[in-house]
Symmetry: C2
Subunit: 491 residues, 2 copies
């Protein structure tokens, strides 16, 4: 992978001086076209060996283009807010919105590579980290991001020469630290690990471009041209479809579904309900104050048909918790800032710290429910969402998150009864809108989408819990009970 | 202040049971009206002595209303991201958007009170902290926020009794910690300090409501009713004008202004420019890598007439810096999320951490420039902005921020020349729009606004630096020079 970057590539000064003015002008123009287009973000990753001119190249890009519309991020030590969330949270925070260029120094690749080099992780952990990256970048590409990854390489000899030269000059001496020499000792190992990392994460939609770092002019022009060509191509053409849907889910031949097989008959009398409510709310309260919970977090998803009783159920859950420790996030139409980001961004930003609870009233499953049924997104988009969501929830679990997902379901007749009741009760009329009636007409489409969703996103770590909710009392108790069980198992 | 909250207020159970259902229903309705109205946020502050039922009351409010539209925040230990910004940053982050209710546990008052009680601050520091709070709340009220501050009080005797009772019950024992008893020893001092804090921060637009905490029923109904009445009153009426403008600034009688007195004649030849550019960029680079800068931050504001050369100047500044350490924030129309917050919110969110630089390409001064001239805001709004901005910048300076503000100014003739040049040069046409020509027609209005701005917001800590920019070279050098001087003085 690095062979061609050890042969001493260089560009003569005359050629450089002749090339750069036009290149700069073209880059600037492309940047403004991107800004006017606002169709996609550009993510430029800069990685590579020490002393290969990564920093200077980032500065040159900022100099050649308009720095006002470039977001440059270097990922230094994690802040404590970052440490209390899944590993990728800090990268989600740094993503550029559509129309902008984000230069991510080190990207999400450097940490896993360094961890492997210094032996903090083993080979399998490394491979899993690479898999995580591949999924992440595929998602970004599917969301439309233009991803360019540059790896700055130096041969061992060239790196030694360069570090020495930097040290010899008083003006640049500060740039060489002990860590650099420490790392230099690990050159061979670093080369080996990073080569496999690059191989495993180089994809058609997010390729690595290896750049020989010994000659600044060569480096700058190579990066500048690559960015320019990719930008122009993308601005001229259509958004490439990365993940095509090979086949769509079809209903089972016998017409039976997980929903139709549910038992809707169980009920609970008012008095028994009161007793059980007190019991499980008390239990949940104790669990949420458990010492070990300070190292966990709880993420609860409420989904369900209109009028299935999500709001009432949520209030019985929050009633058991201390308001200082939970947030309820009602999910409605995304804001302007959210629309400029990948689909899952608006959920990442609400993830709880350790020791906290976030309850989502509707959630990321909107993609495979309302957006699928109403055709707000393409088939490709909702088909790939199943995998993206599983990946997202696996990351939550990995970081100590207990993910509990409820689907509250009622029969079609019960929904009609509740709609009519809402229309009649003055205080409840705000809860029923024309949209509810419209959705109801698509009952079968929704049911099919729900069944696909359950089949494709229920898993050991975050199983769907189906709650027959014709009887509100028994539904609420089952919800509280489930939360207690899941927390107990996790603590 | 606390006398009336030590007389044993209580509500009988029968009265409570008779009151609550209607109160809840009305609160919920008012909450939905607020949500539909989206005209203002509601900020509920909960403070008071330990053991007076603050937590339970917050939980009750969440139970009585719809917790999905309430943001509850408890301010625990500061995170490192918060520690690296001005003190109020964490509170700005927690502000609820318009249409929502934010319950802020402890508010911004508890820290200064506790710091004074334990002797970490002296009397003057305490008073300054109170002044800061008064300014902050006045700004919030001016921005339309409905602010309700509840202080839960217990007499010394009642507090001892309550803490003992909580301890005696195994179910509630966890709630009493050693810190609580430690603090109890400080009761008298706490009472004295908090009484003066309440007095100094109780205003018509953000009053303290002292609630006796010994009887839960009394407490809940008092808070519930107060919230309901305030919400209903506000929803029914108009937004109250808090800060009326007593008088507007008038131009000086002799017609002379700071701008007309500037010397536009100094120029710099290309060769001399190149030399000086290298010199000052090098100096700025060294300063930005100075050890002591890791405890400071640099906030640079660029304002100026259209075509005055802000963009070019910014690029000469960023050219001296490492792209990993600065962000340029171009200020355009606010986003939807920004419009739902007080005016300065969108600048607070971009404040740099320590050791970093943020460059604002246009800034919070838009309020007293374009928004004033184009009448996008009322006279009251831009008149109060002068004070709010001074207050904001004082907070930045207090937290180690070096604030440098440049006004780039060109003569009317020079602007015309540049507009025409832009129209002629193919690559520059994107830089000139119909809006620029429209703005130019209001040259005198803008000039007057600029003069008022300079007069009212130039101060020792963050003086305006007026840059005659008919000659781009000399303007850029003066800017770099000023940055070096200001940084040098600060380090």
């Amino acid at each position: 992978m690095f062979e061609s970057a050890e042969i001493g590539h260089r560009i003569a000064k005359r050629e450089y001086d002749g090339t750069v003015p036009k290149l700069r002008e073209a880059l600037l123009k492309a940047q403004y076209d991107l800004l006017a287009d606002r169709g996609f973000p550009v993510i430029i990753i800069i990685g590579g060996v020490d002393g290969a001119g990564k920093g200077e190249t980032v500065n040159i890009l900022n100099e050649w283009m308009d720095p006002r519309h470039i977001h440059t991020h270097a990922f230094a030590e994690m802040s404590d807010e970052e440490r209390e969330r899944p590993r990728m949270w800090r990268y989600w925070r740094a993503l550029p919105p559509k129309g902008r260029i984000g230069i991510l120094f080190g990207g999400w690749h450097t940490d896993p590579i360094v961890n492997r080099v210094i032996g903090r992780t083993d080979a399998n952990e490394m491979r899993l980290a690479m898999e995580e990256i591949v999924h992440f970048e595929r998602m970004l590409a599917d969301e439309g991001a233009l991803i360019l990854k540059f790896w700055f390489h130096l041969s061992k000899k060239a790196q030694r020469t360069r570090l020495k030269a930097l040290e010899a000059d008083p003006k640049t001496r500060w740039r060489v630290t002990d860590t650099d020499w420490e790392r230099f000792k690990l050159y061979d190992r670093f080369r080996k690990v990073s080569e496999s990392a690059l191989r495993e994460t180089s994809t058609g939609y997010a390729p690595w471009i290896v750049v020989e770092g010994s000659d600044p002019n060569y480096r700058y022009v190579t990066v500048g041209r690559t960015v320019l060509d990719a930008l122009k191509k993308r601005l001229a053409g259509k958004r490439p479809a990365v993940s095509r849907a090979a086949a769509l889910p079809e209903p089972a031949l016998d017409g039976r579904t997980v929903l139709s097989s549910l038992d809707y008959t169980s009920t609970l009398a008012h008095k028994a309900y009161g007793k059980k409510l007190e019991k499980y709310q008390g239990q949940l309260n104790l669990l949420s104050r458990h010492k070990k919970f300070s190292q966990k977090s709880l993420i609860v998803v409420f989904e369900g048909a209109d009028a299935a009783g999500k709001g009432g159920a949520i209030r019985r859950v929050t009633g058991a918790l201390d308001a200082r420790h939970y947030q309820v996030t009602p999910v409605a139409a995304p804001t302007e800032e959210e629309r400029a980001q990948p689909y899952l961004w608006r959920f990442w930003r609400h993830l709880p710290r350790k020791g906290r609870v976030t309850i989502f009233d509707r959630s990321w499953y909107g993609r495979v429910l309302v957006e699928r049924v109403e055709k707000f997104c393409s088939e490709e988009d909702w088909m790939r969402a199943f995998h993206e969501i599983n990946d997202f929830e696996a990351q939550l679990a990995e970081a100590g998150g207990v993910v509990v997902k409820f689907w509250l379901t009622i029969t079609k007749e019960e929904q009609l009864r509740r709609f009519r009741e809402r229309e009649k009760t003055p205080f409840k009329t705000f809860k029923i809108t024309a949209e509810d009636w419209r959705n109801r007409k698509k009952w079968d489409d929704y049911e099919r989408a729900v069944c696909d969703m359950i089949e494709r996103t229920s898993n050991d770590q975050a199983p769907w819990v189906l709650i027959p909710a014709n009887d509100k009392y028994s539904a609420r108790i089952r919800i509280l009970q489930t939360l207690c069980e899941r927390l107990e198992a996790a603590l």
